[in-house]
């Protein structure tokens, strides 16, 4: 998973840069204190960076949504909405997984899903990007690709990888093992098969992502 400092630096010329990056660069030593700080002094413009870096999807999604609603800059708004879309999808998966686990193991079941999904964060974002979300236009898509993989200019990156992603989805649709996994997941998590197929497709082959 790309850590918070990398995520932060991917924003380039943005008001976050300044000394905020120093705060997140020391996150390993100050994580617990950051949690306390943002709890006492909410700042949705900044706290979501910390939340995403710690795979804390729910407050991240909430902060991003609030931030997107208030954002004047269209690019900022798009990127934030896109992240919100990704985190919402993750939340849904976690909720469904947790719900199922409570049913199977009872209310005292250990809650291990956030960490598991957190390591595949960008796979989920890829899915969110490719789904038919209203906010997912070309501009915000390339912004996400650029920030997620930090491969330099998106102009060099998108033409190479977007066809590969589409190709991968097509292959998944004709791969029995993927379809079987997707159907199982669909039944267990009460999600449409088309959604779980895309999820299985991306999360079952994480090495594909550069």
């Amino acid at each position: 998973m790309v850590g918070t400092p990398n995520l932060l630096l991917s924003y380039g010329p943005h008001p976050f840069l300044g000394e905020i990056r120093t705060m997140f660069n020391q996150e390993a030593q100050t994580r617990g204190y950051l949690d306390i700080f943002f709890k006492k002094r909410p700042n949705i413009g900044i706290s979501w960076i910390h939340d995403i870096g710690t795979a804390n999807c729910i407050p991240a999604g909430s902060a991003l949504l609030q931030g997107a609603e208030a954002a004047v800059n269209l690019e900022v708004k798009h990127v934030r909405l896109l992240y919100t879309g990704g985190s919402s999808f993750t939340i849904n998966l976690i909720d469904y997984a947790q719900y199922r686990k409570i049913i199977v193991f009872g209310r005292n079941a250990s809650y291990e899903y956030p960490k598991r999904f957190g390591t595949r964060w960008y796979s989920v974002l890829w899915f969110a990007m490719l789904s038919n979300k209203p906010c997912c236009d070309q501009h915000s898509t390339v912004a996400l690709i650029s920030s997620a993989f930090r491969k330099g200019s998106w102009k060099n990156y998108v033409p190479i990888h977007l066809p590969l992603v589409h190709d991968k989805l097509l292959k998944a649709k004709s791969t029995p093992s993927y379809i079987q996994k997707a159907e199982n997941l669909s039944e267990k998590m009460h999600l449409p098969p088309s959604v779980t197929l895309a999820y299985v497709c991306f999360t079952s082959d994480v090495d594909y992502f550069p």
Partner: protein, 86 residues
């Protein structure tokens, strides 16, 4: 320890904020009065980023361990204010 209404941040820091050779005295006063605003400011008078290049990096870590939340609150607030995102 009771914090005075007029802190050393208000009175003393300006006198020691330059390179006049009294930095250690400024640190001692700020530590004594637990004036974390001054301590954070003193710790970031030189290189801020990357944090490992800050000559006061070890001092910052020791303050975090010593003063915990009281210090980190001022520390984070300083980063936010100086990041232009307050």
């Amino acid at each position: 320890m009771r914090k005075p209404s007029l802190t050393c941040h208000d009175l003393i820091l300006p006198w020691f904020s330059g390179t006049c050779g009294h930095e250690e005295a400024a640190y001692s006063l700020a530590e004594h009065y637990q004036d974390f605003t001054s301590l954070v400011a003193l710790c970031h008078r030189e290189t801020v980023f990357p944090p490992e290049d800050n000559p006061n990096a070890e001092r910052i870590q020791s303050y975090i361990q010593q003063f915990k939340e009281d210090f980190t609150t001022e520390l984070f607030q300083w980063y936010i204010q100086h990041g232009g995102y307050s």
